[in-house]
Symmetry: C2
């Protein structure tokens, strides 16, 4: 019963083109701001043709959001309670930053959804997202209790990692406006900065 089993070559190609176009448009305009014409044009199809592949605008959006949270949380899932605490967190930061660099549209799609009050993924936020964060927060708290990292609020630590890594994707225009054309790619220096930032936060000091 694989949904992709009975797909023509044309079908897979056009579905992909539509999802790609939808991602581009939704991530910039939000759901309400996006129009089917914009998406159809970006996909190189006529509007009725687009609606031959997806039953509605909503359907495209749903498919896009569906896979999103999962991919987005993968780096956090990989945080290993058995590894070296500081390295684990820094590796998480690095993976998250790479995600922003490689999939900025996905990041902006997510940002739009949250800004609008998460009408379509609110349940997943207080469900699987909260569960995962609770679990990993406990791990971090454990490390702190064992003196392997400094005492920090694990929730705010995670929030700050999200905020800073996604900032480079979501506020891309602002970052480039401020840095100017000469510093076109902010990611190398951002990576170094974030590394320093979280290392200095987590590295245990001379305990009093």
């Amino acid at each position: 019963m694989d949904k992709t089993a009975t797909r023509t070559r044309i079908q897979t190609k056009n579905r992909q083109a539509i999802l790609d176009a939808g991602l581009a448009v939704f991530s910039q305009q939000g759901f309400r701001g996006a129009t089917l014409d914009q998406i159809a044009k970006a996909a190189g199809l006529s509007r009725p043709n687009l609606l031959y592949y997806f039953p509605s605008k909503e359907a495209i959006h749903v498919v896009l959001l569906a896979g999103l949270l999962d991919t987005w949380l993968d780096p956090l899932r990989a945080l290993d309670a058995g590894g070296n605490p500081v390295d684990e967190v820094l590796a998480y930061v690095r993976r998250k930053l790479e995600l922003s660099r490689d999939f900025p549209r996905e990041s902006r799609l997510f940002a739009n959804e949250i800004l609008q009050g998460a009408p379509r993924i609110g349940a997943a936020l207080s469900g699987e997202l909260k569960e995962l964060v609770d679990e990993k927060a406990a791990v971090i708290r454990g490390w702190a209790a064992a003196g392997q990292i400094a005492e920090v609020d694990p929730y705010h630590l995670i929030f700050s990692i999200w905020a800073m890594t996604q900032h480079y994707a979501d506020f891309d225009v602002q970052v480039h406006a401020v840095l100017g054309p000469e510093r076109a790619d902010p990611y190398p220096s951002a990576g170094a900065y974030l590394d320093t930032l979280f290392r200095s936060l987590l590295t245990p000091r001379n305990v009093t």
Copy 2:
């Protein structure tokens, strides 16, 4: 020639109601996603009545964005080259966080504008925003060179302050979903966390 000089009491009241309603709707739906009916309803006026006070949807949006950047940058302007470096930065973080707590809709309005590619304030970003940041970045670089704070990229430092403080306004729904109902107000703990974070980053270590 003060624009407010010839305003009736009713005018000032209704204009304010409209701007307030517009802020609420635009900050959640973005410009394209917002409708005049939503704004009119939120302002307690009929749509034609609303258009008696503002000539168009765009006009409301423009007025809202106009004052925004200025208010938003005030805390950074207050960063004093003559003060104690670490204290100055930490005070900046605190002021910025207060802005997020007290004016979350303004923060989201700004976020929406940037997400959409800053079509209306792009010029101000590479203009006055860049100028101000360049100036303050130079101040921070000076502090680092003098050994008063640790060596950090001043631009990324500023980005990280923006990202983390605004995160609590823009991603409010997500923050609350993750923290759950028992930790309703994240701001006190966020303030403490950010204080620790940036203090540990900036405090000069035993220089090698």
